[in-house]
Symmetry: C2
DNA sequence: TATTGCTATATTGTCGACATAATGATGCTT
DNA sequence: AAGCATCATTATGTCGACAATATAGCAATA
């Protein structure tokens, strides 16, 4: 699935996305230094383009930069993952709360349809659910919040980092069936326009997910 | 009071801060277009510097940019304010929750001292409390969360926007004494290490603040 | 008169070169 | 031999110029 509706138009846009994906997918290792000149030859653009891309990556917290020294890809740590999920719990909880108020009936119906497709896939034993389906589910609810800041923070910022942890610490894996039930209850709360419950269930859902990942790391 | 410990070293840093403050304080009007050449003469730097500053402002959601067209200062709207406070409620609620767990005893003592000074100032009828004191109070709790993402999102992003709304829609004003009581209870919850209550109280506190501002706008 | 296509202009996007600060090596001093 | 100062090198920061794109104005046509 394609992230947000970001259609790169300028060279800086394209380079930003290329570089970001190379980092998130681990082709550029976490913690490594980003040399502007090196990258400019690698991606065949001028240093100015690379600088703009790096600046944007810094805003996403994917790289850290020190003045007159350079930029490094962030290092992954258990502490970092925990902090990330704390923010996710907070923001996505609020997203679910707002979605319960702001989603249209059609959007809710679509969400239910998505859930049903997931159910069928699970029955058939397909378990690529986690990566694509789970993300898709969360996306719709976040969009359903209709809150620009929330949407941007999660899509442009948090989610790429989450993905980076997922890919590089290698966590496809289970929690599929239980996650499905949690999703179902969240949708039900949203359909009932129960904002309070929707937020609570979403927060629990993300907490469980965090705990599951943490368990694997230990 | 000075925002975070940002000490600009490069020219782009300085220009970024200058430009940001000019926008936040309303010296550059909301919704207006930002011409790169114009700004580069105004701030006496090259266009590259201005471009970098604008890029950073875009990351803060203070300006919006369209490719090959240019950047505009965001427009202020009641809807925008509401969305901003929804995010604030979410993030600062989580910050209070984490602060209840992660703040040291010394930090909590300091926070109590700050609260006491505020109390004395209120008694003396000084009411610059709102601007400086309130911000300071919230800052300490956010820092107390010890969560890098949370801190960065609020300090580098949300707070400048909140300030922009405060300044430009002209809301110094009351809610001082009631806010003081709310602050007191939040600190008490943190001191008792009651994370759940701290979060709830902080969320209510921000909701009340939002309601108060909304009432003024109508 | 409204609309469409072209052109001129102004603004943004991109580039290569120069300025400046950090880093590591080299040699000197104690 | 260890530590410090100096210098060369390398990378980042900054700049002005050129290229590409959007916008406004004008003219021509239906």
């Amino acid at each position: 699935m394609l992230l947000a509706n970001e259609q790169p138009v300028t060279a800086a846009d394209k380079t930003f996305i290329l570089l970001r994906d190379d980092i998130v997918e681990g082709r550029i290792v976490a913690g490594s230094k980003l040399s502007e000149t090196e990258l400019s030859t690698k991606y065949a653009v001028s240093r100015a383009i690379i600088r703009e891309a790096i600046n944007r990556l810094e805003a996403c917290h994917i790289v850290e930069r020190k003045a007159n020294v350079g930029a490094r890809v962030v290092a992954l740590s258990q502490q970092g993952l925990i902090e990330l999920y704390q923010v996710r719990e907070s923001l996505e909880g609020m997203a679910a709360r707002l979605a319960a108020v702001n989603m249209t009936h059609e959007e809710i119906d679509d969400l239910m349809g998505l859930l049903k497709r997931h159910f069928d896939e699970i029955k058939d034993g397909q378990s690529y659910y986690q990566e694509a389906g789970d993300v898709d589910f969360h996306y719709r609810i976040i969009l359903g919040s209709k809150n620009k800041h929330l949407i941007s923070m999660l899509f442009d910022g948090i989610y790429h980092l989450v993905r980076m942890y997922r890919v590089q610490l290698g966590m496809a894996g289970p929690r599929v069936t239980t996650a499905y039930d949690e999703h179902k209850h969240i949708v039900k709360a949203i359909a009932n326009r129960d904002a309070e419950l929707a937020e609570m269930l979403m927060r629990r859902h993300i907490m469980y997910s965090k705990n599951s990942i943490e368990a694997k790391l230990s």
